[in-house]
Point group: none
């Protein structure tokens, strides 16, 4: 697993970790029941406080993406392929809906948006 922290100050470190791990679970890089690095180890690797890593893992556990086995460590939750797919689609729908609404609110219409998307695809 590879986690890269940006210096970007907009997103707290613990949330960056949350996002990267969620991402790796969703894209299949982290498999069901795979073990995550220990809090201590990840803190060492990223040169951050153990508390920050703990906060990130707690958040992921709260959201059901990982689970803790006391005195064993943290593990990726069990997801079937269809569950993963469904989560992905739910996220995508939300993201796309929000962004289209936002772009419309600043004065772009459907055609403008489609044009930009098509240009991007090249």
């Amino acid at each position: 697993m590879k986690i890269v922290l940006s210096n970007c100050k907009d997103i707290p470190i613990y949330l960056q970790i949350v996002q990267e791990i969620k991402r790796d679970i969703l894209n299949g890089e982290l498999k069901s029941d795979e073990s995550l690095p220990s809090i201590r180890q990840l803190a060492l690797d990223l040169k951050i406080s153990v508390i920050t890593v703990k906060n990130a893992y707690d958040e992921l556990e709260k959201d059901g993406f990982i689970y803790a086995l006391p005195s064993k460590g943290f593990f990726v939750s069990s997801f079937s392929e269809s569950q993963i797919k469904k989560i992905r689609e739910t996220i995508a729908k939300n993201v796309i809906e929000n962004q289209i609404n936002y772009l419309k609110s600043i004065g772009l219409d459907k055609e403008d948006i489609l044009k930009i998307i098509n240009e991007k695809k090249n």
Copy 2:
């Protein structure tokens, strides 16, 4: 001009104001050199502190969207229609690029994304 604050506390009040005014400038609801409500008036209307409104206006001024004439008030910066259009497109390109990159990173491919966009259009 109509500004609505959400109770959601994820986004600071002053940033919500910034976003709403930026949006209204970009979608043409606020015209060049149009005067904005005075700090005190807006604070009264929204039932928030004058300082919070000041912070919002300062942020907008920093970004070049409005300008202050002391003892006169705050005013929308002068933008030509083509400038507005360019800003809109720049924002849209960034937003869309980030969105597509993110969706790809969690395992969706172009076809998935297009499918969802097309469904939304209906």
Copy 3:
């Protein structure tokens, strides 16, 4: 007499007027005992409030640059050529001393300053 107001918000309007009239007295454009435009007239010309002009004239009177003859108007104070020259030099010494000190404080030495002055003269 020609007064031009800048939109620059850093300097209050009444001070801009003060500066421009002082300048014209010092450079000889306004002669001793010459009459100034009436408060009302200048306010009309500059499209500003009479109060603002009044503040400017009061400031100039306080500094001894002009004097008021009630129900007649405002007039440039009587200065001999040597008095004018002395005021000019006093101002120049202050201005130059302050600026050299400032430039030194941000790390420029005499040679740097002289070099820039000499380049400007070309």
Copy 4:
């Protein structure tokens, strides 16, 4: 780092802080990435409100002289020696040009100005 506030109220406190820190960055007293005193500490030292210090730091951040790492503190931006030199020269050129233009406008000619500068140098 040493910051001295004058009692003079012509310049707002927060701007005095801005000027002193800019000066120390430009003259090399504050090095790239060096940490600045925390908002609270500086407020205590100078016996002013934390908000006033925050305003000063915000202004410096806006101008690119410092950057904030939330929960860490404020730090001097990274400047190469040549960047510093360039900023210094740009400032000097502006200052000197304005000064010379002003002195000319009140009736001094080049020789007068040079004479005063040379006297100062002694």
